[in-house]
Amino acid sequence: MKLRSALAVLLIGFAAGAMAVDKFEPLPDATQQKRYLGLTHELRCVQCQNESIADSPVEVAADLRREVRESIQAGKTDDEIRDGLVSRYGEFILFKPRWSARNALLWLAPGLMLLVGLFVGFNIVRRRAQLLTGDDSVVEEEERT
């Protein structure tokens, strides 16, 4: 029991640290609030750089959240808001890199690696299968080379 209550206290302690840093009241319109949450979670805090502006406690992040809020209320689209920030802070502010010639490799690399892996794996399996069926041509071929 002692252990359990100690654990509970510890967990509550952690929860305090996880409290929202965003001090703004939710936007009155639910769809707008949803867009606000989406955007603030995909924008990088320019100062701390490994946090989204939704999670960062620094003041610049609060300023950026205010900007996103006000832009949404002013009727700007998500893309317009992103573009506006990129024009001032660079693409760096987006956690999700955009599709461009420069970023093509970045986006395609996982798929390419998967294909290479599948190809190699398929070949290994095929060779083993041939060994099992008693077809010695593979082994013989390797011995020859």
Binding site: V46, E59, V60, D63, S87, R88, Y89, G90, F92
Partner: protein
């Protein structure tokens, strides 16, 4: 697949990967420094109340029309700014162009006190209490210093302390080119 190929192919692939990563690392800018997309673009509007008298509003584009000027972003809460301060005082004497100070997200009284104690390197000081202008300029930490040319274009930007060496290497050549 010949025996040689079985080793050479993965090895070649690995070598390519290493090459890719090395090139990526070499090309990466200084860690943590965001290269401003605003360099080479027209400076955003800067219309703010002055630090000394909030009733007076100053428009940088109008005030420094047709001339070079520096915009230095600082705050009394910024430790690095205190370290930078002597270099700004030096620049005030040697640079030959005005320095506009932008006190960022700060308390006016504390900022005035700071300038009284450490000396005032600025031609003019404005106060961006809400940080809106700083956001428009792409400021993300203090100190930051911008060089604006006579056409109102941002010529270069320094993130972090100004030093005499940075001034000579990064800023001065840009002005010399134009003469």
């Amino acid at each position: 697949m010949s025996r040689a190929n079985r080793f050479l192919l993965p090895l070649g692939g690995f070598a390519l990967l290493v090459l890719l990563l090395v090139v990526g690392l070499k090309q990466a800018p200084d860690k943590g420094i965001i290269v401003s997309p605003l360099v080479g673009k027209p400076a955003p509007a800067l219309v703010l109340p002055t630090l000394m008298d909030p009733a007076v509003t100053l428009d940088a584009a109008q005030l420094y029309k047709g001339q070079w000027y520096l915009l230095n972003v600082w705050g009394t809460w910024c430790v690095e700014c205190r370290y930078e301060h002597p270099a700004l005082l030096e620049l005030q004497k040697t640079a030959g162009i005005p320095i506009l100070g932008m006190d960022w997200r700060d308390d006016e009284a504390t900022a005035q006190q700071w300038l009284k104690e450490l000396g005032n390197p600025y031609d003019q000081v404005v106060s961006d209490k809400e940080g809106r202008v700083a956001l428009a300029w792409g400021v993300y930490g203090a100190p930051e210093t911008y060089l604006i040319n006579p056409e109102g274009i941002i010529a270069t930007k320094r993130v972090g302390s100004m030093t005499p060496a940075i001034w000579e290497k990064q800023f001065l050549p840009l002005m010399a080119q134009r003469k």
